[in-house]
Symmetry: C2
Subunit: 350 residues, 2 copies
């Protein structure tokens, strides 16, 4: 029996699990929130207690680690965490190898989740695939010829900052109309809040302009808007959103926008349309460029419902050349994708 220890340093949660190589069932599994004032030291401390709990005194044969931020996968050194301070240049692989005396591999969460879906999930049997996670950010990971492609500096996969609409809204990265700016949960929530915060009349005018900008997208072949929602009175726009959060706009999240869209809120429908449009153009562009067999999409935003998927599929298909074929399927490993990927990562070293 070969015992694998899989670790997941996420943005808000930490997880550890063990599995026998070849098995599809965890032997043990622990997941814990990091808390408000997390830093690299507290993360490592919590992780050590999770490890002690899942190992129960046993010694692993190999360790795989998913880290929520840029990692130099060659040396296993963390570059930084975008969520937790203190992670700059921490030699995570070395630390763990010194502590446990077994080989350890570390990579960023998108690459690791891609490997997880490839070995154990929706990508099994697809030697060239692109995994995309759409949640607080939009990230991606490559499998090419059956192995991860990390790029010359480990930065490959950044579909989130592909520009798909140069006249779109400004992204934190400084550009306009990045896929992440259009499709990530927090940005959808921010745009919803800002629309609702504006004084109603001005808002309505602004939104009409914005929404015609959204309608203006259909440049793509045969592209039509999502089937128009029941046309209620003008006043309805945003009302369902308000109701869902009891008029406390701070509570609006990407998930709330999705729920409001399913319930027919026009503002939410338009924001979600723009998100799926942006992702669809991004995926179509990637298909033209790399011609992978399959796209696997995970993350909270991809649970936004049928309309979201229908628009995404159609726009991606219309953006790709007719000769370029591919499938877009939902990820199946959910929150465990990085952990299963860490298992696969550890097994590469065995």
């Amino acid at each position: 029996m070969t015992l694998i220890l899989a670790l997941d340093f996420g943005g808000t949660k930490l997880a550890a699990a063990t599995v026998n190589a070849g098995s599809r069932e965890w032997l043990s599994y622990e997941r814990r929130l990091q808390g408000a004032n997390a830093n690299a030291d507290t993360d490592l401390e919590i992780m050590r207690s999770l490890i002690a709990s899942v190992l129960q005194g046993k010694k692993p044969d190999a360790i795989g680690v998913s880290f929520g931020g840029p990692v130099d996968a060659t040396t296993g050194t963390v570059r930084l965490s975008h969520h937790v301070p203190g992670w700059e240049n921490i030699p995570l692989k070395k630390l763990l190898e010194a502590e446990f005396g077994v080989p350890c591999s570390v990579d960023n969460d998108a690459n690791v989740a891609a490997l997880g879906e490839y070995r154990f999930g929706a990508g099994q049997g697809y030697d060239s695939l692109f995994y995309i996670t759409v949640s607080t950010g939009v990230g991606g990971g490559w499998i090419i010829n059956g192995v991860p492609w990390r790029g010359a500096e480990g930065m490959a996969g950044e579909i989130g900052h592909m520009v798909v609409d140069p006249s779109g809204p400004v992204c934190l990265c400084g550009k306009r109309g990045c896929v992440e700016r259009l499709a990530s949960g927090p940005y959808m929530a921010q745009d919803a809040r800002e629309s609702l915060l504006n004084e109603p009349q001005r808002r309505r005018e602004k939104l009409r302009a914005e929404s015609s900008a959204v309608r203006g997208f259909p440049p793509l072949r045969r592209l039509r808007r999502v089937p128009p929602v029941e046309q209620t009175s003008e006043g309805r726009r945003g009302e369902i959103l308000r109701e869902l959060v009891g008029n406390n706009l701070e509570l609006i999240t990407g998930k709330v926008v999705s729920e409001a869209a399913v319930a027919g809120d026009e503002l939410a429908v338009e924001l979600l349309y723009r998100a799926s449009w942006g992702l669809g153009v991004g995926i179509g562009n990637v298909a033209n460029l790399m011609n992978p067999q399959r796209f696997v999409l995970g993350g909270g935003v991809t649970k936004a419902g049928e309309n979201f998927w229908a628009v995404l599929q159609r726009v991606a298909r219309e953006t790709a050349l007719p000769e370029v074929h591919f499938e877009i399927v939902p990820a199946v490993l959910g929150d465990d994708a990085p952990l299963w990927g860490a298992v696969a990562l550890a097994m590469i070293r065995l």
Copy 2:
């Protein structure tokens, strides 16, 4: 001595050459125009005579072929030529292997040229690179981990049909604002012609609108327009273009647009700005997605001068994330890139 026979079936020209494996100098070299009524049969007939001429009775040890159109590189079967009729499903590899009794490899010109620049040109020593040719079309070829990446169906590299401006002009492929629509020579020429054909007054108004659309691009961080050309009278716009072709607008080509831009023609400057902008966004997007070490750019349009390169470099840099590094350099093999690539392709089989 290992004798390599390299063949290039282009859109307008055919070429054959021989070289001793390892040498950087052709032993023999022939290039010929296809003529007006070319078809697959006449192409093959001319190529046979070129081959006879370069071989002079010697027998090659391997054959490499660059073909100007989609190819199934696994079987060496041509799918079609976009320029010459009759090439549908011609088993070029089989034909040549039967005729010469030696191993033969066939791939499309962008992939082969990428391999040529990688082995013998501007890509030497760069194991991950993307080659882009910008001329009558915009195509690309990948080298990943030191070998060509053709994609699941041999369609990878199609940066030409990446959408970079969804509100841009309509491309033959049906989408708007593809890189090829903005940056290829024939499209630049077409846009120049159409602008000049419009009745002057209407034209001037339309152009003012179009040019503000071009100015509207600078969404990108710190992006400024090309240094404004000497502001002459309004009447100057397009006049240099007209002069260069003796007012026969049919004679306008991408090259003429480049020359007019260098000479300060405002319309030409704007068209070339849009071309370099589109290519820059495309390259920046590719850098984020694949993180290659180097981009190698060939093709006639890339000879458009310093401004073209300066805008291209800046926009690509601004589109890529700050952590993503790369170089963009001119190809060095010129028209011989496919032939040298064919040599490299043949040598893979030895």
